[in-house]
């Protein structure tokens, strides 16, 4: 049964599912980072998601923003690595922008992603096209912003689709940031590992909301 306006408890449940999905995808993320980076993205994200689960399962929420802030804080303090900082920033900043909301609807979705993405770009200096997670986040944010008038199901569906398309588009990009940078043209043909994580996260949120 599709959902509109998630409660904080539902938001927590959704983000626990996100954590499980990422843990399950560890081998996929490992391989994506092996192709372009140092191969530790899967293990790092798994470590982060275990910390997330511990934190979220032990907490009750009145604000949906706080769910995401805790999600981000757990990642940031447990993971380290580039992804600990960028994903931590994404969810902490994104969550802070909706920390006064007690429900999660299309507007919160849009705020979460756009604020989070902006902070990620501030923190790490990546721009769209640099072949990072930003290339999945940025189109997802645009889609979410255009869908604030629609139902959460439709907004989330459009957002996830845009994130997946962004992940796919990252395959054709030349890496200019981080570990994959010196690959140059050889980085073409592989999606960015962080973008793969973002797509999995958005798809899992969509599956939760639409089911």
């Amino acid at each position: 049964m599709a959902k509109e306006q998630l409660t904080p408890a539902e938001t927590k449940t959704m983000m626990l599912k996100v954590a499980d999905a990422i843990i399950e995808a560890e081998p996929i993320l490992t391989d994506a980072d092996r192709a372009l980076g140092d191969g530790d993205h899967g293990v790092g994200m798994e470590r982060g998601m275990n910390a997330v689960k511990e934190k979220l399962e032990a907490s009750e929420y009145e604000s949906v923003g706080k769910v995401f802030m805790d999600f981000g804080m757990a990642m940031m303090s447990s993971m380290g690595g580039a992804s600990g900082a960028v994903f931590g920033t994404l969810f902490r900043a994104g969550g802070r922008s909706i920390k006064d909301s007690s429900t999660f609807g299309p507007q919160e979705l849009a705020n979460l992603i756009t604020s989070g993405t902006e902070s990620v770009m501030d923190r790490g200096g990546a721009k769209p096209g640099d072949k990072t997670m930003v290339d999945a986040l940025d189109p997802a944010g645009t889609a979410a912003n255009s869908a604030t008038g629609q139902s959460l199901v439709d907004a989330m569906t459009a957002t996830a689709a845009a994130g997946v398309a962004g992940r796919d588009a990252s395959e054709a990009m030349i890496a200019t940031m981080g570990r994959a940078k010196t690959l140059g043209e050889k980085s073409i043909g592989h999606p960015d590992a962080g973008a793969v994580s973002v797509a999995i996260m958005l798809n899992t949120m969509k599956d939760f909301i639409t089911s």
Partner: protein
């Protein structure tokens, strides 16, 4: 190595357990701080502190460079992962003696972001922090963009020099200046023949053909300037050193390496490459420097900047002036690198 028979316990706990073991290796000279940091037991009040750090799995660096006349502390991440900001903060608090803390670490996106967030947390606690990035890998960017280069094995001579400078630095400014000079004067080039692996996955960090060498590869297997056919030491070493010579030549911020110059030469193994191979490579390098009239002031050789069982080696060259020589001549002691006062061949 295809058959990974690593002697460990829980693969997800290797970083925590190795740091415990490292503290044991210091036998009391270092203390374990917070979650996963190391600090010298007795840092004098008023000392300008030097903090290093980075991902684990590269032992004996980075955390093995804490020691006498070396770094005061280290913030240790998980395998190949920068330490999270909380660990950076705990390490910063442990080494700060009121005169501020210099962060000196290899330039990787993850490290920069996490140390930067850690620095912001430290500033909130009224601790003065300054950062100097180690960017010594000439294969990773041209001289005009050298601030975007990776930090590789050059960190060993750099931390040696800056650790010495920190003993007498009267301010964070002064130490920052010394660190910038040590970094500017140090350049590295590496090659790799086969990958390391991550204990938690057992998977190699990259793939490379049986008959190829990755020229200019980084210490996690980041690609360099390209792959070349497997060859002999005497064919390879001149090619490697050429990158260093050309880089000093092309860089407007430094003079070319030329006759009469004195250098520290560090020949490093990434793990599987044996000391035998390093020494054979050192022999060829020595011939090349001798031909050019460049004097080797001191030598470091060994597997100090590793990536698990990765096969490969690197050269790091530090060009010395009188100030750097004075820093070099100080003794130092740590799990990673120890030397007596002076220099070999004095």
């Amino acid at each position: 190595m295809s058959d990974l028979k690593k002697l460990i316990n829980d693969p997800l706990k290797v970083a925590d357990e190795l740091v415990e073991g490292l503290v044991d290796a210091y036998n009391g000279d270092c203390i374990h701080v917070g979650q996963r940091s190391l600090a010298l037991r007795n840092i004098p009040d008023g000392k300008v502190a030097l903090l290093v750090g980075g991902g684990s799995g590269h032992e004996p660096i980075y955390h093995g460079l804490v020691g006498k006349n070396l770094a005061d502390g280290a913030a240790c991440g998980d395998i190949f992962a920068a330490p999270p900001p909380g660990i950076v903060l705990e390490a910063t608090q442990a080494v700060d003696k009121g005169k501020g803390v210099l962060y000196l670490y290899g330039n990787y996106a993850g490290d920069v972001m996490n140390f930067d967030i850690g620095a912001e947390l430290a500033e909130d606690e009224d601790i003065d922090v300054r950062t100097v990035l180690i960017c010594d890998d000439v294969a990773s960017a041209p001289p005009t963009e050298k601030q975007s280069r990776r930090g590789v094995a050059g960190l060993v001579p750099i931390v040696k020099l800056v650790g010495a400078a920190s003993q007498s630095a009267s301010s964070l400014d002064e130490l920052e200046t010394a660190a910038k000079k040590a970094c500017l004067m140090t350049r590295s080039i590496g090659v790799s023949m086969s990958p390391g692996s991550i204990p938690a996955t057992g998977k190699p960090t990259f793939d490379i053909a049986e008959d190829k060498i990755g020229l200019g590869m980084g210490i996690h297997g980041e690609p360099g300037v390209g792959e070349i056919p497997m060859t002999t030491t005497d064919e390879l070493v001149p090619q490697m050193l050429d990158y260093i010579f050309k880089d000093f030549d092309a860089d407007e911020d430094v003079d070319a390496l030329s006759e009469g110059d004195e250098i520290i030469l560090f020949v490093n193994s990434l793990g599987a490459t044996t000391m035998m191979e390093l020494l054979i490579a050192l022999r060829k390098a020595k011939q090349i420097f001798t031909e050019r009239g460049i004097k080797i002031y001191d030598v470091i050789v060994g597997p100090l900047v590793t990536c698990q069982e990765m096969a490969g080696m690197s050269f790091s060259i530090t060009k010395l002036d009188d100030e750097l020589k004075e820093y070099w001549n100080m003794s130092c002691q740590s799990v990673c690198y120890t030397k007596l006062e002076g220099h070999q061949g004095a």
